[in-house]
Amino acid sequence: MGEIAGSSPSTADPDPVDDTATPNDPPPPAMGVAPDGTACTHLDPVPRRLWRLSNAQYGNAVRDLLGLAAAPQVSGGASTPFTFFSADSEVVSAPLAFSYSQVAEAAALAVAPRVPQLAACAPGAGEEACAARFVREFGSRAFRRPLLDAEATELLAVYRTGRAESFAAGIQAVIEVVLQAPSFVFRSELGARSAEGGHSLSAHEIAAQLSFLLLDSIPDAELWAAAQDGGLLDEAVRARQIERLLDLPAVQRNVDRIVAAWFGTRRILVAQKDAARFPGFTDAYRAALLEESDLFIHDVLWTRRAPVHELVTSVNTFVNPELAQLYGVRYPAGTGVFRPVALPPAERAGLLTQASILGARAHAADTSVVERGLFMREAALCLDEVPSPPPGLLDSPDIQSELATLKDERERAVFRTTNAICSTCHGAIDAFGLLFEGYDAVGRYRAGSGQVVDTTAVITEPPVLAGAYPDALALARALADSGTFARCASTRLLSYALGRRITGPPRCEVAAVHDAATRAGGGMAALLRALTQVPALRARY
């Protein structure tokens, strides 16, 4: 039961049942029909769950609850800067619990001067009544739901422990406890029993779902109000809230971050390059490549509100002097370090040909057809994964001696895709990578320096894109025109919202989001509007 007994919303379950007995095996996903009339499979049902905040979400939540200037940093746990979403299987380990306690304590101390504002006591009001009010308000905002009477009582006792010293110490004690409590650290998606069987998220849980998706933090004041009065159970109310949120700079920045994580732009920060061949590949240079990609993403999604496929087709980007040189364009006049340019449309297509991507998906001194092929499968096409090579294969003397005679990536790709064993997998990878042979290991356009490179390839999946392509730009256009990329965008964002990988057969929910988004112009706002109304988001078994 997501709604605690004693609170208002009418979805509270009147008949107590043993809600701890969720079936261990998930019910099989139902079949359905997509908007275009084809058969589809619904998403795998998601169980009622506790979803631990990511370290970033924890820090953001503390910042927003207390009005701090910056989000405190928690250490410990599993996620790395490359993690696309934090898995719902994550637990709280001892080091993480200790880090939470350190952050909670420090945050409580830091806000000591502002206790009068945080626990705003009306003049003349009794101190303990004031504290009780603070406990309810702060506790419920922190836990993203109304407090149980038992919780309020216990937290008031915590206040009294600190009150022995001073009123401020009492309030600080409450803050310190709340910021490391399980109810703060875990998002609850337990829901209430729904009429159709299974469970449905409560209004408060919906608020948290929307806020952690769009803000990467706790619900803001308006979203909280819509949770408190149960409004978020209504589709129209949700739609209004989503509209409001999509205009917030913090939401737009967060969505930019999600897209960057989906493309793995941060991998350029750890890419290693041959210093002799590519001098100047410093940390500052890598950071500049990342900044270009960040600026590009924001420009496509929010400044121009372009259809999402422009992420892989637009030539409008932002360069500093070094990037201008890399891309072979003139560094334009203007203000600021990064300035808008239009790259030659015959040479570039969106994120796919940006230096941050091409440089990360390459070897130290040479390109990598395999890396770039795998990137395309994963990021642009949402194709299934290809398994890694079987044991002993890479070391077999025949393969080794053969590879040693080959002079470049094209020859190696031909070998891999014609060898009987290698081709079973590389047939699905290398063609994509070959299309990018026009760009060297740091992303320079090879033909720009007079090199003649064969950039043709024949691809076979997905079926709608099968055929021969002269280069990556042609595939990028086809990705856009066929809607394949936009559909992949819907898949990626739906995965992110649910914290679950989406694989396998075509999914009805992906088709529905893609269809609705396309009808509304194909922009990110349209995609998110459609996504956040998908019923599966709120259903749990």
Partner: protein, 464 residues
């Protein structure tokens, strides 16, 4: 600084909390009764295997002639046993590499599947957790075990390459990794209590009691909240509740933790380490690598000495690391360790050997400090610690898993003689090392580990 902060600092400095005092008392009692100190277990991992021609000592079984890469272990030679002939047996029928090797070496079992391309899922607990759970000799310390690392950056986000220790899986197919801690100061605070710099504080008894009450109220609410959540969640979510409960129990010990400085059993709270920049997403030079490793191993030493921990794993960096070395010698072709390692040219092998020698030297320096702590029975901490020095693959450039470059250091008081090369007459699976240590040092009846090709029996001749 307000009264609360002062009182809290005072409390943690002055009051030897339950866990810390118990550890000291046990040590004192042990020596009073003539009981020996416990035999600790420490796995130290260095990445990317070795260059076998430069690692394995020459000659037959017997006294050790140190190889070029092993040369830095010279001051520890009398405590060093090198084993030549153990194979890491991966049975999962897919490409062997850093990820699969790491999980296979530490758990000894087949995998429970994988995520993505190479993120293999451990199907069982790691050897340190097996021993911790089953050996009475490793029971009783405040925190049990600790897993640390010097650098965890990788070029791909995978758990398998950056974790040594695993608890028992909560359900089939679900692993329970113990993610290594990277910041020495955070580990220090967690195990030894928060460090209070500066002079003595003058907190009154009342203030001390208030601070104690504050910490207790945190724990009480956490437990109460967790209990309520536990009553609401489906059965499949219980693993999170149970893990949190265990974390709260350790948190309580961290809260209590304060050690009397000096005297008694000679266990001294070490000086607090400094903070290091979080590198988690930066490339480029890492000038702190050696320093962080030294501090981490120093914390393990102190935690062993003060009986806060009896089992530990330390990872220098994952096999898929991006650590850089700033040119260990003039003309060193690449600075980064793992990315350019898949090359068997002489220049590449020389580079790999130089990096491994660097790791050997740093580890030797840290283990030399284990010799300087004298335990209650007159032996050193090193004599009472079994250190296993290993890597996740055998041969670096091609991930070959045969002839693992593994050595055992220390453990003299547990029956492990040093200054030895054990050159096995026939090849044996790596797990035979774990079986020998489990049965003969730790009294754990571990008769087998993994599937039949992964073990043959406890490695004879290692333990007297």
């Amino acid at each position: 600084m307000n009264g609360y902060a002062m009182a809290r600092r005072s409390f943690l400095r002055r009051v030897a909390g339950a866990a810390g005092m118990a550890g000291l008392l046990r040590a004192i009692e042990r020596s009073a009764h003539g009981a020996p100190p416990p035999t600790r277990f420490l796995v130290i991992h260095r990445p990317v295997g070795t260059v076998p021609e430069q690692w394995f000592p020459t000659g037959g079984s017997g006294p050790l002639t140190l190889s070029p890469i092993l040369a830095p272990f010279a001051p520890l030679k009398s405590s060093l046993t090198v084993i030549d002939g153990l194979d890491i047996i991966c049975v999962d029928g897919v490409a062997k590499g850093h990820q699969l090797g790491m999980v296979t070496v530490m758990t000894g079992r087949p995998m429970a599947g994988k995520l993505g391309i190479n993120d293999y899922i451990a199907s069982g607990p790691s050897i340190d957790q097996i021993l911790l759970e089953q050996s009475p000799k490793l029971a009783g310390s405040a925190f049990g075990s600790v897993s640390l690392a010097a650098d965890l950056r990788q070029d791909i986000d995978e758990v398998a390459a950056r974790v040594l220790s695993y608890r028992k899986p909560p359900a089939p197919g679900q692993r329970a990794p113990i993610y290594p801690e990277m910041q020495p100061l955070e580990v220090y605070k967690r195990l030894f209590g928060s460090f209070m710099p500066g002079g003595d504080t003058t907190g009154s008894q009342l203030a001390l009691e208030r601070a104690r009450a504050r910490k207790q109220s945190v724990l009480d609410f956490l437990r109460s909240d967790l209990d309520r959540l536990g009553g609401l969640v489906p059965a499949g979510e219980r693993v999170k509740i149970d893990a949190y409960g265990a974390a709260i129990r350790e948190l309580e010990k961290s809260f209590d933790q304060a050690l009397a400085t000096g005297g008694g059993s000679g266990c001294t709270k070490p000086a607090a380490p400094k903070s290091f920049p979080q590198f988690s997403n930066q490339s480029g030079e890492n000038p702190y690598h050696g320093e962080i490793g030294k501090l981490q191993l120093g914390i393990i030493r102190a935690a062993f000495a003060c009986d806060l921990v009896r089992a530990s794993t330390f990872m220098w960096s994952p096999g898929t690391n991006i650590v850089t070395f700033g040119g260990l010698y003039s003309g060193m072709p690449f600075n980064t360790h793992h990315p350019p390692s898949h090359d068997s040219s002489p220049a590449s092998l020389a580079r790999l050997a130089a990096i491994e020698t660097w790791y050997t030297a740093r580890t030797a320096e840290a283990l030399a400090e284990f010799k300087t702590f004298t335990e209650s029975d007159g032996g050193s901490l090193l004599d009472h610690t079994v250190v296993v020095w290993l890597s996740e693959v055998a041969r670096g450039y091609d991930h070959d898993m045969f002839r693992a470059p593994v050595a055992v250091i220390g453990g003299a008081r547990a029956g492990i003689a040093g200054d030895r090369l054990m050159k096995l007459s026939g090849r044996r699976p790596f797990n035979d090392l774990w079986l020998a240590l489990a049965q003969k040092v730790y009294g754990v009846s571990l008769g087998s580990l993994g599937v039949s090709q992964q073990w043959s029996g406890p490695l004879p001749g290692l333990v007297a």
